[in-house]
């Protein structure tokens, strides 16, 4: 028979979000805390991110991914959190029954609290409906990153990277350092998708061309990629005629990340259509009592520091063991916002609001509106889709009356990369 385990907290996913959530639950007094990770090691995607740039905000120093992960792995070792690696969660019931398997068998956890820290996955060729042949040599950037940094193999000799997301930019530099010729990074939008610092450090410094308002129209090659047809597009992303052939044997896709919300759907947690993840409040509690979600399953963060910061908020809330109270405010984007989270505010005394701009703007203003009245705003000289706006909730003078809060981001259109 499957083994049955009573747990106070089950955290699903041992990446930065899950590690921080388990740690904070323990620190706020929870016991019988289980951290379930499907890979043989904790750390999640951090393990393959061997470049520096992690921890600048949280630790004030520049760490690599594995170094950043190590800090939390060490901290966890000092707690009584039970870590099960090589363990895959198959389903989570509405009754917070978590079914997992590993080489020992089937586990059924009966949890008082379930924390989803399952991260996100990369958008694929099929999702962007990239036409052409289906040869070997098409990788998502993160898959290629694993093969290069963990396995020590290279995806090919000449690469084109579609999408200017951060992993794509990082991989452009990584492949160049390994002797792979990176022909271009091709971005369908008129603005960069990733962080500006990655553009400078990964593309500019290595003279890798960035083709904005361009996309890959077709993949060529029967067995292995032989080239891609790259063409210019209009604002809606439709080809405008001008196109050329870029010979290459590898195509990396860095065309966005989507929260891995499939497990949450099975436990009927309400999902936000905009972010793809669950609705959460400022403590990252879901709309259903007993469920939390943190990290990139909520929505895709651009810095791991923010992931940790958000996940660390969960423990206090579990510790307080407060009953479920409906949120005071429900945030909804009205204009200029691609995604925002948390979408619910319960106290509004601390924590942060993360907002991803829809497009590049200058002289912008982020406003919070309640009953038609703007009760808070911040001025933003420049904002880009690649960088999230982080608003300190403690500084927001929340209105007395409960209700819906509309979030508006307005400014002058700004399409330059720099």
């Amino acid at each position: 028979m499957p083994r049955s385990v009573d747990a106070e907290v089950v955290v699903i996913g041992g990446g930065p979000a899950g590690m921080a959530a388990a740690l904070s639950a323990w620190e706020w007094g929870a016991r019988r805390v289980f951290l379930l990770e499907r890979n043989p090691h904790l750390g999640g995607i951090l393990n393959q991110c061997i470049h520096p740039g992690f921890g600048l905000r949280l630790f004030g120093e520049e760490l690599t991914g594995p170094e950043y992960a190590e800090r939390y792995i060490e901290a966890l070792e000092k707690t009584g959190v039970e870590v099960l690696t090589d363990t895959t969660v198959l389903e989570v019931g509405e009754d917070r029954r978590v079914v997992a398997v590993n080489r020992e068998g089937v586990w059924i956890f009966h949890a008082r609290t379930v924390v989803f820290a399952v991260g996100c996955r990369e958008r694929t060729r099929g999702m962007i409906r990239l036409p052409g042949t289906r040869p070997a040599g098409i990788f998502t950037a993160g898959c290629a990153q694993y093969l290069v940094n963990i396995e020590g193999y290279l995806p090919g000799r000449r690469a084109v990277i579609l999408g200017s997301g951060d992993i794509g930019l990082i991989m452009a530099r990584r492949l160049t350092l390994e002797g792979v010729k990176v022909e271009a990074v091709v971005e369908i939008r008129p603005t960069l998708s990733g962080l500006l610092r990655n553009y400078v450090q990964c593309l500019l410094d290595f003279r890798i061309p960035l083709l904005l308002s361009h996309t890959v129209l077709e993949v060529l090659g029967k067995e292995r990629v032989e080239g891609v047809v790259v063409g210019k597009v209009d604002e809606k992303g439709n080809p405008v005629g001008e196109k050329r052939l870029l010979p290459c044997d590898t195509l990396l896709l860095s065309v966005g990340l989507v929260p891995e919300s499939e497990l949450l759907k099975k436990s009927r947690i309400p999902l936000c259509p905009l972010s793809g993840g669950p609705f959460v409040d400022e403590d990252f509690a879901c709309d259903v009592p007993g469920f939390f979600a943190c990290g990139n399953v909520v929505g895709v963060f651009d810095l791991v520091d923010y992931v940790t910061e958000s996940a660390l908020r969960i423990g206090r809330r579990i510790g307080e063991a407060e009953g479920y109270t409906p949120p005071r405010f429900v945030l909804s984007p009205l204009e200029g916002v691609a995604a925002l989270f948390p979408q619910r505010i319960r106290r509004g005394k601390d924590g942060f609001l993360y907002v991803r701009p829809k497009e590049g703007l200058k002289k912008a203003r982020l406003s919070l509106i309640h009953n038609g009245r703007e009760f808070h705003s911040v001025a933003l000289p420049l904002c880009r889709p690649g960088e999230m706006i982080r608003l300190d909730l403690a500084r927001v003078p929340w209105p007395e009356e409960k209700g819906e809060v509309q979030v508006v981001l307005r400014g002058e259109k700004h399409v330059d990369v720099l």
Partner: protein, 482 residues
């Protein structure tokens, strides 16, 4: 010198079905496939619909073998351990004229439970169908199967009963040598057989030419498809057909046994075996499908693909002995419904060979194929038992389709074995889920090296040129040349 009774050339669904059928008799059978695995050509990319009697074409060979095949289904599924999706089909008419065609289908099918339904009745079965329909024809006998699952099951069933399957063997010539045929392959290997059956699919005419025969030229028609996420399971329950035209059965919606939804195909002439997708073709499929079910969740596409249908000018199957070599049987132009008709074709081919002296004595030790378990289809108790037997059942390597290490290892050791990533995909569905291999693609190379003896740098997606990754020194050498 080993002399086979029959050499079947081509490891598609037709070749595998013939090999499996003949394996019921005491015969030495050889199956030669030019690609690295079976099910790599025309058979790998189609809807997988097992068309019912309503869709047979009277007065054609295609129709005759189609009907013959239907009576084989239940026996074949039992012997092969297959369970197709018995979902039925609705053919949707959008005008009075189209509605008249439904009568033709009903009459042709003569299926007791089949019925012509009013729009209201159609919507009661399939509420997502376009409410502007005029009428619908419900046919309970239509089924859907995975074309890979069927072809590979046939190959495994054949191998289990002694058929020798050799991949990577392209037949380039065959000449009489005494009472046998001497069959020469591109890599220099030579085989001897009494009969040769040309099931080379898209290359059938080419192979016939190599053997000295001139068959009518094949033209190729391409069909493009969308595959939707398994989360769309239940969006529709039946296969939804439009009213068929002279050219094709039209752009349809099909649930699959794996839980995905398949949309397509369009129908367009193409050059040879060009299986690229195009923006235009996919758009055509999108429009065609939206006509049947307006709110089809096209945002849940996980992949697109296209398949080709090799067709002869008369649009019928050709199954005939070679005029020059009496022991060579050619099959050409096996397009739709080739998958459905595969058992009927095999039986028909068996009869033709028997008439030329092949002794068909049914053996009494024919072995049934026991399908491998799929972890995702097991109950928790069954999973617990499997893991206790072999802990590899507890290691999930593909989380989208919940494929375990044990299943991967089994596919690597099957006969015929998976030797490529595509071969593995078609057997256990790694790479076939919503992440399309971006997760399992990280870990599989190492697993295949450790468990299958395939070195990471020798791993291929499919054919010889389709390397997956390179060693660092291979790239460094290239960088220097540059």
């Amino acid at each position: 010198m080993k002399v086979y009774d029959v050499a079947v050339v081509g490891g598609g669904v037709v070749g595998c079905a013939i090999a499996w059928y003949l394996a019921h008799c005491s015969l030495d059978i050889l199956l030669l496939e030019k690609q690295e695995d079976v099910c790599c050509g025309v058979s790998k990319a189609n809807t997988g619909i097992l068309h019912s009697r309503s869709y047979w074409t009277p007065g054609t060979l295609k129709g005759e073998v189609h009907l013959r095949s239907l009576s084989w289904f239940e026996r074949a599924f039992r012997e092969l351990g297959l369970s197709p999706l018995r979902c039925g089909a609705l053919t949707l008419a959008f005008s009075r004229e189209e509605a008249r065609h439904l009568e033709v289908l009903k009459k042709r099918g003569a299926i007791a439970e089949a019925a012509i339904l009013s729009p209201k009745e159609v919507l009661a079965i399939e509420p997502r169908v376009n409410p502007e329909i005029h009428a619908g024809y419900f046919d309970p006998e239509t089924m859907v199967i995975s074309p890979f699952a069927l072809t590979i099951a046939l190959a495994e069933g054949a191998a289990l009963n002694g058929v020798e399957i050799c991949c990577g063997k392209e037949v380039v010539a065959a000449e009489p040598s005494g009472r046998f045929l001497r069959i020469r392959c591109g890599d220099g290997t030579v085989y001897h057989a009494r009969f040769l059956v040309n099931c080379a699919g898209a290359s059938a005419v080419h192979l016939a030419r190599n053997l000295g025969d001139s068959l009518p030229p094949l033209s190729f028609f391409r069909g493009q498809y969308f595959v939707l996420d398994r989360e769309c399971q239940g969006f529709v329950r039946c296969v939804l057909y439009p009213v068929p035209t002279e050219k094709s059965k039209g752009i349809l919606v099909a649930p699959t046994p794996e839980g995905n939804l398949l949309l397509g195909p369009n129908f367009e002439p193409t050059q040879g075996e060009d299986t690229a997708t195009t923006r235009k073709g996919l758009l055509e499929v999108e429009r065609g499908v939206q006509r049947l079910v307006p709110d089809v969740p096209l945002d849940r596409v996980i992949t697109t693909f296209s398949g080709v249908r090799p067709t002869l000018p008369e649009r019928d199957f050709l199954i005939a002995f070679s005029p020059s070599l009496p022991c060579v049987l050619h099959l050409a132009g096996i397009e739709s419904p080739g998958l459905t008709a595969c058992f009927g074709i095999a039986e028909y081919v068996g009869e033709l060979l028997a008439r030329r002296g092949l002794p068909l004595r049914e053996r009494n030790d024919f072995r049934l194929r026991v399908p491998s378990r799929a972890f995702r289809e097991c109950s928790l108790e069954e999973r617990e038992c499997l893991i206790r037997e072999d802990p590899d059942w507890g290691k999930i390597v593909c989380r989208c389709e919940e494929v375990t290490l044990a299943e991967v290892k089994r596919a690597l050791r099957a006969n015929p074995p998976a030797r490529t990533l595509d071969g593995l995909k078609r057997r256990v569905r790694v790479f076939a889920g919503r992440c399309q291999g971006s997760f399992c693609g990280m870990h599989l190379p190492r697993i295949l090296e450790n468990e299958g003896g395939i070195p990471v740098h020798g791993l291929r997606k499919s054919g010889p040129g389709s390397f997956y990754v390179l060693r660092r020194d291979e790239v460094a050498a290239y960088a220097e040349v540059r």
